[in-house]
Amino acid sequence: MSDQGHPAQAAPPRRSLIDTLEIDVRLLGMLMAFAAVAVVFTIWTGGTFVGPRNVFNIAVQTVPVGIMACGMVFVIVARHIDLSVGSMLAMSSAVMAMSQTTWLPTMFGTEYGNPAILAATIVLGLAFGTLMGAITGWFVGYQRIPSFIVTLGGLFVWRNVNWFTTNGQSVSLTDPNLLMFGGTEGVLGATASWALGLVASALAVWAIIASRRNKQGHGFAVKPVLAETVLAGLIVGTILLFVGWLSRYPVPVAKLKRLFEARGEVMPEGYTAMHGLPISVLILIAVAVAMTVVARKTTFGRYIFAMGGNPDAAELAGINTRALTVKIFALMGFLCALAALVAQARLQSHGNDIGMLEELRVIAAAVIGGTALAGGVGTIYGAILGALIMQSLQSGMAMVGVDTPFQNIVVGLVLIIAVWVDILYRKRLGLSK
């Protein structure tokens, strides 16, 4: 893409192919970067990098940052920033840890592990996250304090309210119903995963056809059938490959034995079971799909983009930009709480430093994914890909024995290079603005 030295002859046919297929060049670039990371580490690790086990782990580790990055896209598109997401995650986690182990059980006199208590805990945690976000949004929207300041303050405040909430103690979490949200302890198994994969594929194809019909109904030009077919094929292929791959990751025999013993049964000889899709990854996918629909198909999403493009125009078009700001940050807070649920379930505990520095990863994921800090531009799938690229890099480097400090240096450089390449690319297309 940056072959500036070459004469222009090579460009027209390639560009026209991309044009006829109407491929998003940015997305293509990110996918290629992702593929490059995967190929390099696969060769370097002799194949373990793309093994089902590691793919499973990368997917599970990406979830909390991925969930929050979806909300961060909206925040940044609206010309704001949220530096407090790591602390809001910690605070939501603290509230949920305390309420399931101490507050609610003492209030209702139940044992730890009661499913009703867990359900109430999750509702409480999500509500508290939403409330924290709404408070931020009120300061930013109605009091006109820059979001950088409000959320920088929030970073300190919530991190330390979190400390007081648990008295600085770690809380160990063992409720199997909670741990289901964490990854390995909550998987669908091969059969259900395949079924879900097929349903998702059918839905994707249906969505493509429905959108095409709607356009044709108004007599607009539509992409060539070939382009739509290729796109549909790629999407279905990706879904089924992912599902199939995770369905090849077996659950360790020792763990299966334990599960059977817990039910008072004996494991049949030669019994095997596969992990399949983790529930936490399904949560991330659900969030990503929902947020994409919100961004593209609802007035709420439309107004966020309008506000980011031109706040005055949005206001003059009758949009209540203050209330909109509160909603954006409230949604961010909600997603932090959801990420907290997954994070504490995966770690099987709440520690003081949970979510520490996560805000920087979340912002980096959104930015690597093409969200412009100037506002008005950004995609959910970009942010998820950004999070995935960062997690893959880290996981790959860890596998080949790169030290943690050096891993962080690489991630930092990747952030700068991603934005740099984007600027160069926009300049060449004359899109600079």
């Binding site: 356009k215 607009f220 439309r302 493009g309 003059l316 078009a317 009758g318 531009v377």
Partner: protein, 252 residues
């Protein structure tokens, strides 16, 4: 000729607003009748845009009152103005640069189908209305930031006329338009006028004012110099008002 005996469609009475120490609008009263075009004229910084932004709900007056069809109304924000069927073409156009033409046209009033925005339908509507103003307009699927100044202006005009306005505010609507497009806007103004809309037209070109307006109100340094019947004066009289700040001897 417009009938100006009944209740005015709009009356802005004794309106004032200041920014810091500057009196941008200083005790100005203007009115507008159905089927009438009132030109607002004055030097740069005279306060024309500020005055009409008060009617559009973008600013709140420090003093004065607004009557629509004889009833006093509160216009606290642009939503209120839209609810009173007041539509505005702002001098700055007020477009969200990152959205396409149809999204801008329907911003704040999206067409929805089962709760989700119906982009295809909005684009179809946008094609119809913008096609009437600017038949050469093709760029429906790109952000308006990549449109020319005149194309952007077409989008802003289309937005103001699409929603069945009763009161139309046009702040230099043809500033960026070519001669053909300007002519089409002039025809549009005459058509809307025939339909009984009232139009405030801010315009620097005195010939357009003489051609399109029934009355002209001239402002200078935030104050109203006077309002004249365009048929009773010459363009030199109006130029005199703008430059000297004095109404002509035979003012209406």
């Amino acid at each position: 000729m417009t009938n100006r005996t009944g209740t005015p469609l709009v009356e802005m009475r004794d309106i004032s607003i200041s920014f810091g120490g500057i009196k941008a609008v200083d005790h100005v009263s203007i009115d507008l009748y159905p089927g009438e075009v009132v030109g607002l004229l004055g030097h740069n910084g005279a306060g024309k845009s500020t005055l009409i932004k008060i009617l559009a709900g973008a600013y709140r007056a420090d003093h004065g009152e607004i009557l629509i069809n004889g009833d006093p109304v509160e216009i606290n924000n642009p939503r209120d103005a839209r609810n009173l069927n007041i539509e505005t073409i702002y001098q700055t156009l007020a477009l969200a640069d990152n959205l396409d033409a149809a999204s801008n046209l329907f911003l704040g009033r999206e067409i929805k189908k089962r709760g989700i925005v119906d982009d295809a339908r909005m684009e179809a509507e946008a094609r119809k209305i913008i096609g009437r103003l600017n038949p050469n307009f093709r760029k429906f699927n790109v952000p308006v930031s990549s449109l020319s100044g005149g194309q952007r202006q077409s989008v802003a005009i289309a937005r103001a006329v699409y929603f069945n306005a009763k009161i139309l505010i046009m702040d230099e609507p043809t500033a960026a338009l070519g001669p053909h497009e300007t002519q089409m806007v002039a025809e549009l103004i005459q058509e809307l006028k025939a339909q009984g809309l009232g139009i405030f037209l801010i315009e620097h070109d005195i010939h357009n004012v003489m051609k399109l307006c029934d009355r002209a109100s001239v402002m200078k340094n935030g104050q109203l110099v006077g309002t004249v019947n365009v048929n009773d004066v010459t363009d030199d009289d109006i130029l005199g008002m703008i430059i000297m700040g004095k109404p002509p001897a035979k003012a209406a």
